[in-house]
Symmetry: C2
Subunit: 245 residues, 2 copies
């Protein structure tokens, strides 16, 4: 959080007044060739303009026009393992950050590596997602948007997040189990099929498809960049309309 100290504002006002008054005096002198009168105009101008400027600022302080609130929001990516959530979310985050939005990135792997004891039962997964929902709702209230990517397989905890957030955008990153399995270079799906990983979403645990997502991104049909564009443009249209930051 940055502030401008009063000293800076005062110095800036003085340096501006010197520059501005010298300009006026030069002009008056150029027209009338009277140094004494140019100086008199200058002194009077300096005094009067400071009063006028102060009044001008006070009046504008009461004018609401042109002050715009940019709402904070939560873009929530849900989908099967390897559906493409993290990659697309990273891209959307980078573009929003470049736009000057105050934004936080949250990804399943980062949060889980910080809390390795978080398990994969239905209860533990629901709790995990609800806690992340609590976090993004506090951030949203403080004016900070989030881009979150979590498998978040259950409707219950996704609904909890939606309920606790004012501006919630649910992005369903869609791809069939077969497609995700083909993309999987680390053999997670194979391990899950063999039973070496338990509660693996799509194989040994259910993925409850979102019924009314705000956006569906079909990664079997769209390229990564097209998917990023689709989500970014939706967010931009919905929350950042009427000009740039």
């Amino acid at each position: 959080m940055y502030i401008e100290t009063r000293t800076r504002s005062i110095l800036k006002a003085i340096s501006w007044r010197i520059l501005a008054t010298l300009t006026t005096m030069t002009l008056v002198y150029a027209f009338f060739r009277r140094l004494d009168l140019a100086a008199a105009v200058g002194v009077l101008e300096a005094i009067i303009k400071m009063v006028v400027y102060f009044g001008h600022e006070r009046v504008w302080n009461r004018v609401k026009f042109g002050k715009k609130e940019i709402p904070s929001f939560v873009v929530w990516f849900t989908g099967l393992p390897l559906s493409g959530k993290t990659t697309i979310a990273d891209g959307v985050y980078e573009r929003l950050k470049k736009d000057g939005i105050k934004i936080q990135r949250l990804d399943s792997k980062d949060v889980r590596s910080l809390f390795p004891e978080t398990g994969y039962t239905r209860e533990e997964r629901n709790r995990h997602i609800k806690r992340v929902g609590h976090l993004v709702s506090i951030l949203e209230k403080q004016g900070i948007s989030s881009v979150a990517s979590f498998i978040s397989p259950y409707k219950e905890s996704r609904d909890f997040v939606r309920k606790n957030v004012r501006n919630f955008v649910e992005v369903y990153v869609k791809a069939s189990v077969d497609t995700c399995r083909k993309r999987d270079k680390n053999g997670m799906y194979e391990k899950a099929i063999k039973g070496e990983i338990k509660n693996f979403t799509g194989i040994s645990d259910v993925y409850e498809e979102p019924q009314n997502p705000d956006i569906v991104v079909d990664t079997e049909k769209l390229s990564i960049n097209e998917a990023i564009d689709k989500v970014y443009n939706y967010v931009k249209d919905k929350f950042l309309k009427n000009g740039r930051i």
Copy 2:
């Protein structure tokens, strides 16, 4: 998050230029009684001043002087049940908020009521505090300070929070078990002694006293207002020195 639109800035610049130039023209006319020359000075002034103003702004943009970063911080209250944590933390929060600091209040009862399944074993308590620590560390990085009050009885999780936060202020709210028990109008201590509440800090669960707290607030000796003052002044001296916001 608020922004000033470009339209507002443009309108403000125009309204100021009209006021300022009319002032100059009036002055010139008052001195020289020549309306034609007053008008000529005015037109030239309007054009030249806009260029000079732009240059003035650009130069000041490169000047660091008088730009101050207010660091974000975490004020963490720890202590026995009924030691006075919540009351003092509320007071400190209100005063920091009044100072214009971006700040979040977090209290045990609010977070626990949102996640009623959180238990009271050592493991569950440590996890609970670590998760709150994660939250305040994200807030701190986003420029938002926190005032948190949690019994947080174990050194392990308090140290986790300290490690994950840049500016951590540990406030030990000190009162003996006897004093806290006397203050307890809801009979929690009595229930704990009878065994009706399990893992009750101070009775059936250990409270690991902070070894190097940044502040000790002894609520047997200080009034509530004195305690609030002590913490507030410490935070102010440490993070908000050199003038007001």
